[in-house]
Symmetry: C2
Subunit: 195 residues, 2 copies
Amino acid sequence: MSYGDRMSSSTRSVRSGERRAEILRAALEVIAERGYRGASLAAVAERVGLTQQGLLHHFPTKEALLVAVLEERDQWDAVPDSQWRLDLLGSLVEYNAMRPGIVQTFSALLGESVTEGHPARAFFTERYVGVRASMAQVLRAEFGETLPNGLTPERAAPLLVAVMDGLQYQWLLDPESVDMPQAFRDFLELLGVEG
Amino acid sequence: MSYGDRMSSSTRSVRSGERRAEILRAALEVIAERGYRGASLAAVAERVGLTQQGLLHHFPTKEALLVAVLEERDQWDAVPDSQWRLDLLGSLVEYNAMRPGIVQTFSALLGESVTEGHPARAFFTERYVGVRASMAQVLRAEFGETLPNGLTPERAAPLLVAVMDGLQYQWLLDPESVDMPQAFRDFLELLGVEG
DNA sequence: ATTATCTATAGATCTATAGATAATGC
DNA sequence: ATTATCTATAGATCTATAGATAATGC
């Protein structure tokens, strides 16, 4: 096996797979608490009862660990592109309101990712290109070429995504004051979706 | 002068005020590039031709420097609460599209601020309480108790703020693909504002 | 043999304090 | 006298590499 190859999950032992999963869960938590730059490998390692050097056996660098977290927990990957529907989006927001940890991890990473040379920058840039395209497709399936208010699907898509992200920050900072699922449903009504 | 007092700007010399302003500008830049946690005092100091220790003469801790940046550059402070109007918001977004540096600083800080114990967390939490209230007031002045689409000002306000923030992330990551001012005008039309 | 983990450690940082020196303003 | 700045340095970190040791699986 040449340097740089990834072991396929079929050749990696079950034990090792469990360890990897434990580490990813711990990394998710630590990133939620401190961001990527603030998350130390030692803090992640400690949570799974390893030394920092022991952790580096499973993920060769800190950046490799981040990439693995991003790929495993991307909510947009969970639903095939062609199967998104507007009412599913409402459910996703409701579901997110029940898992502040993951929302916080991704919100912290999104914020950091706009800084120069951040290892998650390419991931988010590409993801948003894809998510806007998916959302445009969803809107087109629901409304055709023109939404009730006159917007094209392509112009409404970035707004839909912006509302989801923006509400998450307000909600994370002050969950008592912001009813995220309600606010998102309000936005869907603005778009002309029947409640 | 007891420990912890701030020197008023009238007792601080002009020279010193200039130095402070230089440092704040440099800090704004470095935070935009690396976030708060990633910004070192040495990097800020170098930009103004000081040593890191020299910088600490002007701001006693890294956190004090952050607080000064936040207070000086808060765009919402620039317009008195009672003077906001919907069309001013559109102009603000257009203006922001011409100053990616400041937008990037605040977007990076907002992202970091959701992590635990972040020194900007209280600032953003309180700011959003205030900004939502201002926006509700603006909407009420424009539309009264019910917007054209049936929402109350209080329920539309968090959406307005969310769209502004969310669009900024998409735009910072991929300015070619996202026409931020256009998208925001689209949203204002959704709300029922006459273009 | 391969995999998992550890100890030791290099080499960079980082923030903040202590105390000296130079410049400025009454 | 006060203000601005510097050198020296303490005391914590942090990531990553090297190499030893133990455990696992053919």
